[in-house]
Symmetry: C2
Subunit: 305 residues, 2 copies
DNA sequence: GTATATATGCTCTTAATGAGTATATATAGC
DNA sequence: GCTATATATACTCATTAAGAGCATATATAC
């Protein structure tokens, strides 16, 4: 019962050396849409090697990103580690991916592609996404024909057949499209592709992971506030949430949630709009920093299929 | 707007080579309690080096675990990757941790320590946990005295001051105890320790991550079924959920959930109990495999503090 | 029978969520 | 002043999920 396992490998096993790279998915919001900072014309993420002097992976990543770009990183989390076996050279290549939030700021008009350029079906605010999802549903139905369990999977993941659209399933959706050969990265049979930019290696999969994670994260932590300026209007806050979740929310219910939880406090200042009543500016009230809940104010989506 | 970032590091930067190790948290249920397979008298996890021939990290891990132990791995997921800077040798050591489920089976009476031997406060089924949490609350109050925000954090994470106990926060709880110097790994000042086994390096933190993850995972995926035998009674299923969540559930409401979702189908067979009516044996019905929801049948917990 | 455990059927309260209606307030431009 | 525009609030209401309790069959061993 309390006996130990034998050591699983002989002590004589030679350690294998790997190249190790840190990959950063840097997210910021501009023009009401989440963007990522990219390299190689939107096909790659910034990355750097792990150094001997780095005391932790996260610190290593923050270090070189902040030094090289001058950007301050907000909420940071590890996404996934993957190996690249086709790397050759007789040793492995390991990549460790991170996601970090950058505060909205006109300065870094750098480098940004909209996340939804890569996953057009994920932005349910755009009416075109419903049409696209119709197309996708048709293609998946073909792919799944005869295989009931496979279709069941498509239906739950894409919100078909009376299932609800779950915005956090963007990774599963991408994986399903990959399996079905509908994205450039897996398009072995030259069937017509779905719209959406692709990336090098499996970086688009990493981006899908990031999208899933950020959608999950903003629901129950105050991470959104790391994407907004220090002062913001409640509408800005709502639109930031909407842009990440890819769907609209009910204004009154959203404010009910925000204010019940005392997540923000009003400042003395006001927005200066082109037209209309100036909006009150708020700031994040970190007293309630540990937990919050900002979902639960969704508006209905048009049905697919 | 659509401009690329400059490459962040000069091409001349030398790649740094790392030793890379795969660490496995192997979980199984026995005696109504989740257990882990351990090495070094419960202080370490089985691990093995990444080999050049491994085509993916997950496959690499499955390969050597299954070959060395003869165990079949069920639901498997990557937990976290971390660097060990104190490793010396002029190069880094990178460890990639995985969690995998093993089916309940009397054979592997191997190597198992209860997860709650490491985190006694996490098993709220045990009445002793409430007493222990009283102690912890007192110690944390001392540690946080004067720092309102710090106390706020303790309260939400440990379910104090009218907050609810959230079983998925086991990692945050361990981290808080670490920061407060109440666990062996961070006990710099020789204050009295909390009960609970410790592990080498930061392996106990990895275990806390695993506990958080599995508690989150079993709520909305059918991963529990990878811990149970092929055929099981509904009570067994409920007790498996309870053992992972560390809290009791309401029998009638639990069955309402299971049966509404058609997660299981009855077999022709029955349990053979020592006493009492024999229980019907069920099996997992993978038609609904994609998503399920098995939380939402909790019983009230005694208040702490 | 009796003890024990499985198995099931209801009811009820509370709270969260989703959704709608109405209205007051503050600016710019005419 | 009036209008267009946008912010900001105050309510109400229906539906559902979650939590909790009560009662009662049913099948076995002793």
């Amino acid at each position: 019962m309390i006996r130990d396992l034998e050591p699983l490998l002989p002590a004589s096993a030679q350690p294998v050396l790997c190249e190790t790279e840190l990959v950063a998915v840097l997210v910021c919001i501009s023009h009401n849409t989440p963007h990522i900072l990219t390299l190689e014309h939107g096909r790659s993420f910034p990355s750097g090697p792990l150094m001997v002097e780095h005391r932790s992976l996260q610190k290593g990543m923050r270090n070189w990103v902040e030094r090289q770009t001058g950007l301050k990183l907000g909420h940071t989390e590890q996404l996934y580690t993957f190996a690249d076996p086709r790397h050759g050279h007789g040793h492995q290549m390991v990549r460790i991916s991170y996601m970090a939030f950058i505060r909205e700021n006109s300065e870094h008009a750098l480098a940004a592609h909209s996340i939804y350029d890569y996953f057009p079906w994920e932005d349910r605010r755009d009416p075109a996404s419903t049409t696209l999802l119709h197309t996708i549903a048709g293609r998946l139905r073909l792919w799944a024909s005869g295989n009931a369990q496979r279709w069941q999977r498509c239906a739950t993941v894409f919100g078909l057949d009376g299932h609800h659209w779950n915005d956090e399933l963007s990774l599963q959706r991408y994986e399903l499209l990959w399996e079905a050969g509908l994205v450039a990265e897996s398009n072995w049979q030259n069937t017509p592709l779905l719209p959406g930019l692709s990336m090098v290696r499996d970086y688009r999969r990493i981006l899908a992971t990031a999208l899933s994670r950020m959608r999950a994260k903003i629901r129950y932590t105050p991470a959104v506030f790391d994407l907004l300026p220090q002062q913001f209007t409640l509408l800005q806050l709502q639109q930031a949430m909407e842009s990440l979740a890819g769907r609209f929310m009910h204004k009154q219910n959203f404010r009910r949630l925000v204010q019940q939880q005392k997540l923000v406090s009003r400042t003395a200042e006001y927005d200066s709009p082109v037209q209309g009543r100036p909006a009150q500016l708020y700031q994040f009230a970190p007293e309630m920093a540990e937990h919050c809940y900002l979902a639960g104010a969704k508006l209905p989506l048009p049905a697919i299929s």
